[in-house]
């Protein structure tokens, strides 16, 4: 596929001598929401960590057709990979505004930073009201929204979210997924979404991959996977 933002081939990664990923292939097309589903320990988080350069990995990772395998995590971030890590993706001790400023670290153009800041304060007026509060004082859902806003202060090519619904109530999870869907629709943002919550995820994703023990077990459109009896039993509880 030529219009893939992210192409992954034979990705292998692990921690020390423990292999977690045994060579996985997948694509994230421009403007698509791609879900990576799987049980605990399947290697979902490891995949994102390998892609953003937080851990060493082997295999081919191409961003817009260019190999980024040898780039450091900081370089990958400035090239357009935005990774919102699992749990608290914010800089806890830093104020809301500082979090957003950190998100814009690679942007040199002050006017562009201002525009992005105003955009997010427009989307989340409560962020503006709490701009001087430490991020750690926000609720879990607010922190997750802030983390996403922070990741999008640059104009990344792809947004990778690691279990954004973790620890959030169903209502807030719904808001969060609505936000992701909206970002995808309005800004054409390519999103790689790692989730355990298959029901919500399949409702906004275009395609999904199911990861099991470090290998891609299943793949298909969100609708196909939603109707797959295996998925229904294992992940949807139907």
């Amino acid at each position: 596929m030529t219009d893939a933002v992210l192409q992954v081939r034979g990705l292998r990664a692990g921690y020390g001598s423990i292999r977690v990923l045994h060579g996985i292939d997948f694509d994230v097309e421009d403007g698509a929401i791609i879900a990576l589903l799987g049980a605990n320990g399947a290697g979902k988080t490891t995949t994102l960590r390998a892609l953003s350069g937080m851990i060493p990995a082997r295999g081919v990772v191409k961003l817009d057709g260019k190999d980024i395998g040898s780039a450091s995590a900081a370089e990958r971030a400035s090239r357009g990979i935005a990774h919102v890590p699992q749990g608290r993706g914010t800089f806890m001790d830093f104020s809301v505004e500082e979090n957003l400023a950190l998100g814009a670290y690679t942007v040199r153009d002050k006017a562009a930073i201002r525009t992005a800041l105003d955009y997010w304060y427009g989307v989340f007026p409560w962020l503006a009201a709490r701009r001087n509060q430490p991020a750690g004082s926000l609720s879990g859902g607010e922190q997750q929204m802030l983390a996403i806003a922070r990741a999008l202060m640059t104009q990344p090519r792809i947004l990778m979210c690691d279990e954004p619904s973790l620890g959030l109530s169903p209502t807030i999870t719904q808001d969060l997924f609505a936000l992701l869907a909206r970002l995808n629709k309005e800004r054409g943002m390519a999103i790689l979404l790692v989730e355990q919550n298959a029901r919500f995820t399949l409702s906004i994703a275009h395609r999904a991959y199911v990861l099991e023990s470090g290998e891609i077990e299943l793949q298909g459109s969100a609708a196909e996977l939603h109707d797959n009896p295996l998925i229904q039993r294992a992940y949807l509880g139907i």
Partner: protein, 293 residues
């Protein structure tokens, strides 16, 4: 009363020096979670450089500026060559490495310049003013002014600049910072460089009073450790307040508590450290990690 105020003034002046060195320790601790008790030895070596440049005929003020820059490079190199390879190693490893620095830097000074104390020029004029019976020397005021400038400069750097924000982020969140594009190791390196410069300032301020010798900063480091512990290891503000409190406490105890006097005054920082560790282990301005889910 006059004596009391006088001792507070003297205490603030020496406290400012402890505070500067404590600030260097805290900068390093925040960046890399290392208590670098060789900070004083590194600073002493820097002061020797300044002394040597001065001996070679470089104007004193210029030699201080040059060495401030050299100290920065030296701190950055120490991080790059010796800390970075073991970043993330256990505390024990770090302690042993710092012992190595301690011995190593002192040995370098000893090797090139010997053990004889050398006179180091005063940074400030000899003028003394008397106000209400309290003597205010230009030296003491100069030391306090230096601390103010140092503090204001650093807090402006950390609060208002992009690089300062990135340095703080690298220190606080080493894992997440690369995800926003911050080259963390470069920032930690800058932190070490900055700390070495701040340490040099502290040593240059006290060198005229102590005379320049390789172990010059050993006792000062003890006061600085007490100041950082008192203020909180993760708080630059704390290190300043801690330094001033330790300085004043030392000065007052030496004068007014009969059995302490000048002989036992080095015990004051230890006593303060013990008390704060019992009552508030994170220090006056330190924070304990608060985790909210």
């Amino acid at each position: 009363m006059q004596l009391f105020v006088q001792q507070i003034v003297e205490g603030l002046a020496s406290g400012a020096i402890y505070a500067s060195l404590a600030l260097a320790l805290v900068l390093i601790y925040r960046a890399t979670r290392i208590v670098n008790f060789a900070q004083g030895e590194m600073a002493t070596l820097s002061v020797y450089f300044a002394w040597q440049l001065n001996q070679w005929g470089v104007p004193f003020a210029l030699s201080l500026i040059i060495v401030a820059a050299i100290s920065f490079v030296m701190g950055a190199l120490v991080f790059r060559l010796m800390i970075r390879p073991v970043l993330g190693a256990s505390d024990h490893t770090m302690v042993v490495i710092c012992i190595g620095f301690f011995i190593g830097f002192e040995a370098i000074a000893l090797w090139f310049w010997g053990a004889d104390p050398r006179a180091f020029p005063r940074l400030f004029p000899d003028a003394v003013w008397t106000i209400g019976g309290v003597r205010l020397s230009a030296n003491n005021l100069g030391i306090l002014a230096t601390l103010c400038v140092l503090t204001a400069g650093l807090s402006a750097l950390f609060r208002f600049t992009r690089i300062g924000l990135a340095m703080r982020a690298s220190a606080a969140e080493r894992e997440k910072s690369p995800l926003v594009g911050i080259p963390v190791e470069t920032m930690l390196m800058l932190g070490w460089g900055l700390a070495a410069t701040v340490g040099f300032v502290a040593a240059a301020l006290i060198a005229p009073a102590l005379f320049l010798s390789p172990p010059m900063m050993v006792s000062v480091v003890i006061y600085a450790l007490a100041a950082a512990t008192l203020g909180g290891w993760d708080s630059p503000t704390g290190s300043i307040v801690g330094g001033l409190v330790v300085g004043v406490a030392e000065s007052l105890c030496a004068t007014f508590v009969g059995f302490i006097g000048t002989d036992l005054k080095v015990g004051v920082p230890f006593a303060l450290m013990a008390v704060i560790l019992l009552l508030r282990p994170q220090g006056l301005f330190g924070t304990t990690a608060v985790i909210r889910v």
